[in-house]
Symmetry: C2
Subunit: 402 residues, 2 copies
């Protein structure tokens, strides 16, 4: 059946794709010269897809929102890890990109992305040396601190290297890292302001628990509460005579909450680009499903086995999807499929209530449970419009958790 008919190419019914032999597809994938020549069915699965229309709509909506609310937008690069997307965001008005870790920031900087905010403290001799090197390349980069010892190290590293580092205080607002809001944070801000080789730029206050709180009203109440402590800390610092131009916070879950809080200067959301099963479930202003942004990210799989009439096995498992949420991937365009994990390499589909059946060779696209750690599993994402592959983007900071 291979390449038998039609000028040596295989029949479409078997291929699903564009009838090109693999050697041609491989060459197009390597060179990236798509030019409308590949269909999504030509992609080897599992493949990470991004729907470009949905992505662009999400970017435009978030950018317009921040513009209307007069807040800066510095989307979090840990979600996409992809310089092409960072550039797209900056073209739409973003002031730069957040990077979760120094090595992620380095990857963005190497690709020419500026306006970086490194959201995790830079700890240890080697990381300090790298921070200084990054600041030479991108002097506007801001680093976060929540510890007086780490501040002293940063200041000394900057002194020795004869650079001046921008430093923000990371506030503890209920989860994870940071120094308590109020007097401890003010004291740390004062310590920064006293040092010669660092420059105080402001505050970071990321409240992950608020972002994912179910129900819009509950989320608003929680976020307004914790953000009030951040806003008050900013006021205290300015009352102590230290300018505090930055208060960076917010997320996909709270973008339309935090923008209405006076004193917040910028948002650092990430997941709005892609959306996932998780964020769809937090609830929106208009009902139980959060619909502010479109699902643009999916993983395309192929049915590789059919153990029974109501079971199918796809080639995407623990290595193709994030697994940190209590729920599994959701099939796109087919109702009633129940996905369960089939180990590292497989997903098991129960088709008992499926709106159509599936056979070996059929392709199924899934919305992912959690976008960030899913993206981190892939070296490339394919930008698609309809069934056509338009581009392929390197996930340059994949694995850069250092």
């Amino acid at each position: 059946m291979l390449r038998r008919t039609l000028f040596g190419l295989a029949p479409a019914v078997l291929l699903g794709g564009t009838r090109r032999p693999w050697r041609e597809v491989e060459r197009i994938l390597e060179r990236g010269d798509f030019q409308g020549r590949l269909s999504v069915d030509d992609l080897p699965t599992p493949a990470l897809l991004v729907d470009l229309d949905a992505l662009d709509a999400n970017i435009a909506k978030m950018a317009a929102h921040c513009r209307a609310k007069n807040r800066a937008l510095r989307p979090h690069g840990k979600t996409h890890k992809c310089p092409e997307i960072a550039r797209r965001l900056i073209s739409a008005g973003a002031v730069g990109a957040c990077a979760a870790k120094l090595s992620e920031a380095e990857a963005f900087a190497r690709a020419g992305i500026g306006g970086l905010l490194v959201t995790t403290a830079v700890v240890g001799q080697h990381k300090l040396e790298r921070a200084v090197r990054l600041a030479r390349l991108k002097p506007e980069t801001t680093f976060c601190v929540d510890d007086a010892g780490n501040l002293a190290d940063l200041d000394e590293a900057a002194r020795e290297a004869k650079v001046r580092l921008n430093v923000a205080v990371d506030l503890y607002v209920g989860t994870r890292t940071g120094i308590p809001a109020g007097p401890p944070a003010v004291t740390l801000a004062q310590a920064i302001a006293r040092r010669k080789n660092v420059r105080f730029t402001g505050l970071q206050a990321y409240a992950g628990h608020a972002s994912h709180r179910n129900g819009f009203e509950a989320r608003r109440e929680l976020s307004r509460g914790v953000m009030q402590t951040a806003v008050e800390t900013r006021r205290l610092i300015e009352a102590a005579g230290i300018p505090c131009p930055l208060l960076s916070c917010g997320s996909t879950g709270t973008y339309n909450i935090d923008c209405d809080i006076d004193g917040i200067t910028e948002l650092q959301p990430g997941s709005f680009l892609f959306m996932d099963v998780d964020y769809a479930r937090i609830g929106g202003q208009d009902g139980p499903v959060y619909r502010d942004f479109r699902h643009s990210l999916t993983v395309l799989t192929t049915v590789v086995s059919k153990p029974s009439a109501v079971e199918a096995v796809v080639d995407g498992g623990l290595k193709a999807f994030s697994t940190d949420k209590p729920f599994t991937p959701e099939a796109k365009g087919i109702d009633g499929i129940v996905f369960s994990w089939g180990g590292d390499e497989h997903g098991k589909l129960n088709l008992t209530k499926a709106s159509r059946t599936l056979n070996v060779g059929d392709r199924v696209e899934f919305v992912v449970p959690h976008c960030d750690p899913t993206v981190n599993l892939y070296d490339r994402m394919y930008g698609v419009r309809g069934s056509q592959v338009e581009t392929s983007w390197l996930i340059a900071a994949r694995g850069m958790s250092q």
Copy 2:
């Protein structure tokens, strides 16, 4: 404090490492010429470490076991994805490597590894073309089928390419993929034997549910039960006049069970190389902890924040560890630490009952919940002996789930 004392290098107490500046460490990491010059504390974290003494002991033990039991050993490459480890296993007596997917097998073949068994069916025109290409490079490669239509496609692809493909029947033995044992499998074997462009090599029967069954006796009972159906199928095929030289099965959990079942010809375990929190909990012959193999794989992290006296935050989160198990990473060398997820980039440690405290900059090593998907997060693993970094291995098939 940086590079201030002792010939321009920083004091060891602050570094933990070998006092080398980052630019030197970076050069050594890039070139891979370690020569005893780096300590684990020089590695940027999170870093994937493999204890070479423990790895070598695990390899030697499994190889000796298979030799003594007169079974072939074809360890599963999906665990390590690393040609250097595949070579080490072959040096110890392994007959080759299993690969979960075709792209993983291609990565091994490119690195010169032979004796490949591709354990997932090769489905779709492009994968078939690639299978043929792989068979040209490594003619001894075996492919698995569980579907008559897929077999017809494989045969046709082989015919067109003028190669002969080795094909094994994948048996359904309780989980995931495969054709039911007994008559359906015999019929498929006969169909293979009748076709001219494929060669029947035998059976694959992987029982994942047996591998992870808690308690040695319960595991033995389950594995013996499901493997009996595989052995019986092999007998039926041979009774039908078709030689069936291969019956590949087994896992880290059942290696010392399946080797005692007559008719099983080879084992395909993977996790024994590294071990993880999961396998430690399945129970051994001598008690509730499975100790047959040593924990060789860890993730090294750094404390980057200390929100309170009894809380520390390390720089390893959902992107540094597998998250598919109900339990979290376990600290090595420190008792009483309770790890909980702190998002994509962080792990939260409760130190209330810890055997020692931790401060910003301290390093903590963790045994991972599940080794395979953790390895798949990293581009390299560092081979260490004691505190010295001896080598760095490319995880060449990382992300190769296609």
